[in-house]
């Protein structure tokens, strides 16, 4: 058996952090069309199973590549395995995290939509900064610790952004 294809290879995309999301969507749609169950109604059992497995692999790959933080984590794991449960001790960033969480808590009490939106814009800018820095360091083995720290930051930022969305949904329900 040859090495299993990487998520990037499945879509014929270069192994890179910066990725054209539209192109990924297009290639994903084309690829899943080829393994759609409707095309295998008359096929043999093994062929049907292979198509189902390929569809599952394509879905998994698509989910990982679509999300910048999961894509970044995947790229680092391809280089060398990363301990995904390790406790992060990045004081400067965690301090910032605490402040953001506290601010979000206060925003939740105020129900001020404009302020929530401003807060989200700040998080998105912070996220863009981290993404940009990551794209400049992940390929350099000497910068691996930095790259790992940046992936962690992406994950925490995803979490706060998720909580902002949760808050907005909660307020919308009133």
């Amino acid at each position: 058996m040859s090495e299993p294809a990487t998520h990037f290879e499945l879509f014929g995309l270069p192994q890179a952090f910066v990725l054209d999301a539209g192109e990924l969507d297009r290639r994903y749609r084309e690829a899943v069309k080829l393994v759609h169950p409707d095309r295998f109604v008359a096929a043999s059992g093994p062929e049907q199973r292979a198509a189902v497995e390929r569809a599952a692999a394509l879905n998994e790959a698509y989910q990982v590549l679509k999300s910048p933080s999961r894509r970044a984590l995947y790229l680092l794991n391809l280089q060398a395995a990363l301990d995904e449960e390790a406790t992060v001790q990045d004081p400067e960033f965690l301090f910032q995290q605490m402040e953001w969480r506290e601010e979000l808590e206060e925003l939740g009490n105020s129900a001020d939509f404009a302020a929530i939106d401003t807060f989200r814009q700040r998080l998105i800018r912070a996220r863009q900064d981290v993404d940009q820095e990551f794209s400049g360091v992940w390929q350099d083995p000497a910068q691996r610790p930095r790259a790992e720290r940046l992936v962690r930051r992406m994950q925490f930022l995803d979490k706060v952004l998720y909580e902002v969305r949760q808050l907005e949904e909660r307020l919308d329900d009133f």
Partner: protein, 128 residues
């Protein structure tokens, strides 16, 4: 997944939530995070002249198990010496709270926060 009564108790009535003056020389601050779930934990200790922890405070943004683990950790640390506090193990916390296997990492986070707070305090003292 059902939380144990002890987790629910700490979650609904967390002990020692708050903040100590991180700039004070006799206060140690530990900041830790779990990237997989995005939980963040701040645990602080105030140490008296004889090296005993006289106060402990925490603030945790995370799931019920993470909040309960850090709440319990602050309860256990009060009145202990630094060395004794450093002996608190995540397994003891997990056992006391009856954490299920998928939530063990929350107790690990609490243990790492204790160690980080003690380390921060010791580093500050060394600089004095």
């Amino acid at each position: 997944m059902a939380y144990s009564d002890k987790v629910i108790d700490h979650y609904e009535n967390p002990r020692n939530v708050g903040k100590l003056d991180a700039d004070a020389p006799n206060v140690g601050t530990g900041m830790v995070g779990a990237p997989a779930c995005g939980d963040v934990m701040r645990l602080q200790i105030e140490v008296d002249e004889s090296g005993v922890i006289k106060d402990a405070k925490f603030k945790t943004y995370g799931c019920g198990s993470a909040i309960a683990s850090s709440s319990l950790a602050t309860e256990w640390m009060k009145g202990k010496t630094l060395d004794e506090a450093e002996q608190i193990k995540n397994t003891t916390i997990a056992e006391e709270l009856a954490l299920p296997p998928v939530k063990i990492h929350c107790s690990v986070l609490a243990e790492d926060a204790i160690k980080a707070a003690v380390r921060d305090y010791k580093e500050k003292q060394a600089k004095q």
